[in-house]
């Protein structure tokens, strides 16, 4: 019954419909669009996982790319060093990075607001420079060659779609049903949440762990799809993308970041002929506009408009 209630919500129904619509795209046979869709799906998981920390738990993370990149690197290392089959090492990398997320979360628990943002930024820069420091293992700037999990763009497309939907369902279940109130309490007023007896530290840690698991999974899939993972996947530029995608889509909605991921991926492709390297500049300007004018993001904005329209 609960599932039925969930589906009744028109917004969720429409998102399911959208998913079905996307499933039919391969029949168009346009590999270029397909490639973009796969990337969008990967970024969508990444942005949604960022949303768990920032949107629900209200903790600003400026170093989310660290988990994404680590996921990709672990995926490659597990295959290379231990000969673990790709599909297994894909999940293992997620679990390993979740453990790292947990360990990073422990000192970060002591941090509030500003300090947390700083700590995460410092962490991601550290991971990046560490990877650059051992070029004999990680191939430095060049990037690590990674075995692909799936061959063929159509397979990858369906896999990415399935991954997006399944991780979305899991994240939705965990965050919206089980944890939502605790995390939102944490976001709105941490001291008060603590005062009414919510174990803020434990829930923050849980949010960190879940979020790092899903970003690692998206990173591993990215590595497997592209076939290479380089330190460029760990730069602040990618963490920034996560912020842009979830803010534009609507922070704290879980579906918003997915919309944002699609929008940003296609937008940056559209702008590619105009500005080759500086797509970050467009993101930055967009983000400023959104923070100032539509801080709740497109999804919330449209939802509110729809509601008031239907009531009229």
């Amino acid at each position: 019954m609960k599932i039925l209630e969930e589906i009744k919500n028109p917004f969720k129904l429409s998102s399911l419909l959208l998913a079905l619509l996307l499933a039919t795209f391969p029949f168009l046979g346009n590999y270029y669009i397909l490639d973009l869709l796969i990337l969008s799906n990967i970024y969508a998981i990444f942005a949604a996982s960022f949303d768990i920390i920032s949107g629900y738990a209200g903790q600003i993370s400026l170093g989310h790319a660290a988990y994404f990149g680590l996921g990709g690197y672990f995926y490659g290392f597990l295959i290379d060093w231990f000969n673990i089959p790709p599909a297994l090492s894909f999940f293992l990398s997620g679990i390993l990075v979740a453990i790292i997320g947990f360990l990073v979360g422990v000192p970060c628990l002591r941090l509030k607001g500003a300090y947390l943002a700083l700590g995460t930024l410092a962490f991601s820069e550290t991971v990046r420079t560490t990877i650059l420091a051992f070029p004999s293992v990680t191939w430095g700037q060049e990037g690590l060659q990674v075995n692909r999990m799936l061959h063929g763009i159509i397979h990858n497309y369906y896999a990415s779609l399935a991954l997006l939907l399944s991780s979305l369902i899991i994240m939705h279940y965990v965050v919206k049903c089980k944890l939502k109130l605790y995390l939102v309490a944490l976001r709105e007023n941490e001291d008060l949440a603590e005062a009414v007896g919510i174990n803020t530290a434990a829930y923050k840690l849980l949010a960190f762990t879940i979020s790092s698991f899903f970003s690692a999974i998206s990173g591993a899939f990215f590595a497997s799809y592209i076939g290479v993972i380089s330190p460029r996947a760990l730069t602040i530029s990618l963490s920034f993308r996560a912020i842009v995608m979830s803010t534009i889509g609507g922070i704290g909605t879980l579906y918003g970041p997915i919309f944002g991921a699609y929008l940003i991926t296609f937008l940056s492709e559209a702008f590619r002929p105009i500005i080759l390297r500086g797509s970050d500049i467009i993101y930055a300007v967009l983000l400023i506009i959104f923070i100032l004018l539509i801080p709740k993001g497109i999804v919330n904005f449209i939802q509110e408009r729809l509601r008031s329209f239907l009531k009229l």
């Binding site: 300090y115 943002a117 700083l118 820069e125 560490t130 420091a133 912020i243 970050d280 500049i281 400023i288």
Partner: protein, 287 residues
């Protein structure tokens, strides 16, 4: 061996003093405005690039380049305060992301105009001093003295001038300071200008030790974060001491282990500090 250690110590001190200057502004801005200026690291890179651009591309003198770079970075900082930080001060957490946006825009503008080139400013005076088997480049000695001089000026400014006292008052408690007649808006402007001037000097000087590329600003941001957390955010004197300590750690880690691991040593020290003394080793950090 002793000679090598003294050498590393002096090199580390010179580096640390530069980090201290660069991070003092970051810490000061947080103390006065309660805003983390994530664009701070990019200001550092921008000043080095401007100097390079004026000196190499426009064929003007190095000193002119330095002066113009410092002035324009300071002006940019003041503009940021005037247009973004002050009017939008109610945004709090989004403000941090806005400064990140500003940093991104500046970085990309450097990319698009000057390009992804590595730059290195000329050293002030080349050559090495060789004494009792201790070899130190003259440049580092000069950097050390320059940064000690700047730090002393900053210290004297904060300690003895009226404006310095006003800044410290706001760091302690903005509302009470405002009640006693401290012109908060003007003090904020001066703090911003001061910290941008400091960071641009540090950028130009650091550029004679390290090669810069446009995105290295984020790495230095990591360094500034480590230094500021180590010394306690908002505590300028703590920040200076922390800069010196971390500079020495960096120089030893760089010699005995690997230069690329310097940020790792920083992160480990942040990790430890946060576990032991979350408000910095000297306390007084603001939350």
């Amino acid at each position: 061996m002793i000679g090598k250690i003294i050498e590393l110590l002096i090199n580390g001190l010179a580096l640390g003093a530069l980090y201290a200057i660069a991070s003092a502004g970051f810490s000061l801005i947080f103390g006065v405005m309660r805003v983390l200026n994530i664009a701070h690291g990019i200001f550092l890179v921008l000043s080095a690039y401007l100097t390079y651009f004026i000196y190499r591309c426009l064929d003007m003198g190095f000193i002119e380049g330095v002066i113009i770079a410092i002035l324009s970075v300071t002006a940019l900082g003041l503009l940021t305060e005037k247009l973004v930080l002050y009017p939008l001060r109610a945004f709090k957490e989004s403000l941090l992301i806005l400064t990140l946006c500003i940093g991104m825009i500046i970085e990309q503008v450097i990319y698009l105009t000057i390009g992804p080139v590595y730059i290195m400013n000329p050293v002030l005076i080349s050559g090495t001093i060789d004494m009792y088997n201790i070899k130190i480049s003259t440049n580092r000695i000069i950097l050390l003295f320059l940064s000690i001089f700047i730090t002393l000026c900053l210290w004297a400014f904060l300690k003895y001038t009226k404006m310095g006292k006003a800044i410290r008052a706001i760091v302690q408690d903005e509302e009470v300071a405002a009640m006693y007649g401290v012109p908060v808006k003007r003090v904020r402007m001066i703090t911003m200008g001061l910290s941008c001037a400091l960071v641009s000097v540090a950028g130009i000087l650091l550029n004679s030790i390290y090669m810069f590329d446009p995105s290295i600003g984020w790495e230095f941001m990591g360094v500034a974060i480590a230094v500021a957390i180590f010394g306690g955010l908002g505590n300028v004197f703590g920040t200076v001491a922390a800069g010196l300590i971390l500079g020495i750690i960096e120089s030893f880690v760089g010699y005995f282990i690997s230069t690329n691991l310097r940020l790792v040593s920083y992160f480990i020290s942040i990790f430890l500090i946060l576990l032991i003394r979350p408000r910095g080793i000297f306390g007084g950090g603001k939350t």
